[in-house]
């Protein structure tokens, strides 16, 4: 074992090799670093949009330690979002920094967190933030943002507010703990024109939102049944996150699924919440959406690209794949529906990156974070059109070549004002806890073994038990 240098983190076996390599490459590099000849050269090589930075970021107040000797950063994410080439680019530009990339896995994250080995950078979703925060797992990045010339607080797109918090119970403002990699107002609709024509239904206007009631009506009309089979569902939504759709509909009314302190769920006693659940229950009964007893073979968005869903409710990112060989020139994006006239269209996923509070190399982690979020990778992401950029200054990079992209862009622009306020997620619940409870109960209700009211009560009861468990773990 090497003498644990200050930089060695938990992966001793690996860092030994790096340690030896550092020894052999020797003092030369260290000297250079000491002379400041290699300032962390992670300047975004292809300078992006107008407002984008052109100079290498100065390291924040806490000393430019990155280059002095070998640093091993662990990053847990998805390879598809940070490929080998990007990693190599970063490592080349920052000699001495090696990235140990780990594919995201819940069990692995648990194991690493428990072993005190939490990855330096972790891919999370906005709903995870309150819980991770309540467990003191997130590093406050505010000082780094304040010192950064790449990521300026004023340049951050609204979805990043989900990563700001004053406390686990109050996200939206305050210290900043991370950023989205990209995002979308997630409740927009995509209409398959051919389905409308087949059903003889007029396409809704693209500049004013339809109501959820109208959506249900359309869904029923667009649904196509062939014998016992459903040849097309009228309406497909992100049924892995149904509760988050409820939350945003309730937020439109200034209401919440939960009590103010998030210690109880208010479903049975809240008429609006009841109505929202009833809405999705009725659609399931009418077989106008995929349900637990007749599920999508993949996910509704993919079904949409095969022409087997008439209206799909997904964010802007979906426009990158909505046009398939089947749906080419047949897709129109519509604004998010409204429940009772108000308009809201927040992100319900907000996938991004945070830095672990346990990180032994926060400065190096920030370098990577900054580059990933404001450098070359962010430019690539913006140009791809697979989501709204996390930086307002990069909005101009979004693709606008095809008529569809232009149509989508127009709707997006009209929707952005309604995406400012992030949803407040429950710090005591895991990300898919409520949705799984809902699905299990809905299945029984659809099979007739539970009435609607019984189902509602069961959802509330089980959620409250889960909240109690969460409370018990947090306090």
């Amino acid at each position: 074992m090497s003498r644990p240098t200050d930089e060695t983190n938990a992966h001793r076996a690996l860092s030994r090799r790096q340690f030896l390599r550092a020894l052999s490459l020797g003092s030369g590099a260290a000297l250079l670093a000491a002379c400041g000849a290699t300032p962390a050269a992670i300047a975004p090589t292809s300078a992006p949009a107008p407002a984008a930075p052109t100079v290498a970021p100065a390291a924040p107040t806490s000393a430019p330690a990155v280059t002095s000797s070998s640093v091993l950063l662990t990053m847990m994410g998805r390879r598809s979002e940070f490929n080998e080439d990007l990693q190599q680019t970063f490592e080349t530009a920052n000699s001495g920094v090696t990235i140990e990339f780990i594919e995201f896995d819940q069990a692995r994250l648990f194991a690493m967190a428990t072993a005190g080995n939490t990855p330096d950078l972790i891919r999370v979703q906005a709903p995870d933030v309150p819980q991770l925060l309540s467990r003191n797992l997130l590093l406050d990045l505010t000082p780094y943002f304040q010192a950064s010339s790449v990521l300026k607080l004023a340049d951050l797109a609204p979805a990043n507010n989900a990563y700001k918090a004053e406390s686990p119970l109050k996200v939206g403002s305050g210290a900043i703990y991370g950023m989205v990699k990209d995002w979308s107002p997630d409740l927009s609709l995509f209409a398959y024109k051919a389905a409308f024509e087949e059903a003889g239904v007029a396409l809704p206007a693209t500049d004013t939102p339809i109501t959820y009631a109208e959506l249900a009506e359309l869904a029923t009309k667009l649904t196509k049944i062939d014998g016992d089979r459903i040849a097309r569902w009228g309406y497909g939504f992100d049924d892995a996150r149904t509760d988050r759709i409820w939350m945003s509909i309730l937020a439109e009314q200034g209401q919440s699924l939960y009590s103010d302190d998030f210690t109880t769920m208010n479903l049975v006693g809240n008429d609006t919440a009841r109505a929202v659940v009833q809405y999705f229950y009725d659609l399931a009964q009418a077989r106008a959406t995929p349900t637990p007893i007749n599920p999508s073979p993949t996910w509704p968005g993919e079904d949409f690209t095969k022409g087997t869903v008439g209206l799909a409710q997904y964010g802007f990112w979906f426009s990158a794949m909505a046009e398939s060989d089947i749906t080419k020139d047949q897709v129109v994006m519509l604004p998010a529906p409204t429940w009772s006239g108000g308009r809201i269209n927040p992100t319900i996923t907000g996938t991004g990156l945070v830095v672990s509070a346990q990180s032994k190399n926060p400065d190096a982690a920030w370098k990577l974070f900054e580059w990933y979020m404001g450098g070359e990778p962010s430019v690539d992401r913006a140009k791809s059109g697979w989501g709204v950029p996390a930086l307002v200054s990069q909005y101009v990079l979004l693709p606008t070549e095809s008529p569809f992209q232009q149509q989508v862009g127009a709707v997006l622009t009209s929707e952005l004002p309604y995406a400012e306020q992030p949803l407040q997620f429950n710090p005591y619940l895991g990300g898919s806890a409520v949705n799984n409870i809902w699905k299990a109960q809905l299945e029984q209700a659809l099979r007739g073994s539970l009435s609607f009211d019984e189902m509602l009560a069961a959802i509330e009861r089980e959620t409250n038990v889960a909240i109690q468990d969460g409370l018990d773990r947090t306090s």
Partner: protein, 321 residues
Amino acid sequence: METARPMALRTGERRRISRMRQRQITFFLFIAPWLTGFVFLQALPLLVGLLTSFTNYDGLNLDSVRFVGLRNYVRAFSDPDTGYSFSRTLLWSALNVPLWLVGAFGLALLLNRDMKGRGIFRTLLYIPSVVPVVATIWVWRIFLDTNYGALNGMLSLVRPGTAVPFLTDHALQSLTAIALWTGLGSGMVIFLAGLQGISTELVEAARLDGANRLQITQHITLPLMSPIIFFQFVLALIASFQQLVIPLLLSSIGGQISVPPRSSYLYMVHVYQQIFVNQRFGYGTALLWLLFVVILVLTLIIFRTSRYWVHYETDQEGGKR
């Protein structure tokens, strides 16, 4: 460590003792790799795993971990889903284990014959065992899907509009089909390997005495194969009780963990939901220990009865020979 021959010329009594000791030392030398591994890699984690079941641990850091006494175990008995998922597991095991045992043994008997192309048949039947689980899940999902699946598509050629909900209304049966598909091949291989140990002379002699194939199977093959059948039976039972991956992944897309239909809501699925969806690590671990006890008791019963039907060459029960 060779057996010590020079010590042989002592009194019979001492020789017996020293021989006994020698055998004991040799025994431990042979199992030393496993035992060392068990002590260093298993025993401690097991202890920690046991302790976990008495805590409120949630998978994240250990800052707020507390001991909660027997609460998790008490909860297991008051949670209606525990009993429900266990009953589904029993039903599923009752379907899966016998079908698998009989199927795998039958195939092995057929493929043990001297016939053309048996190597090809064996390979073909083994293919599903090596198909990666990702592919297994996707293929079966798109094969059995209610609306767009291939099987319903074929049925629709006969009766248009057919949409049998295989994966939801008949989830347990579909699960059995999938598990058999992936498992028959490897079961067959073990049986085939076992069949090679049966003396061909014995079979030949019986045949010359006029025994027919059925009699040979019944009086020679089955008894001689009983240790292997026993092994397969125990393992199939354990594996059935622990079935998780197929039902879980069948209803989850792109890494998003979902709930399988109630019909295939097996015990391990319930555990998985507790641990990875609700972050009830302590409770989930308690459920696992309860499952362990159940399997242990069942297995011990099978082991106890094995003396009546399993034929070993050496005495397996006592310490003498």
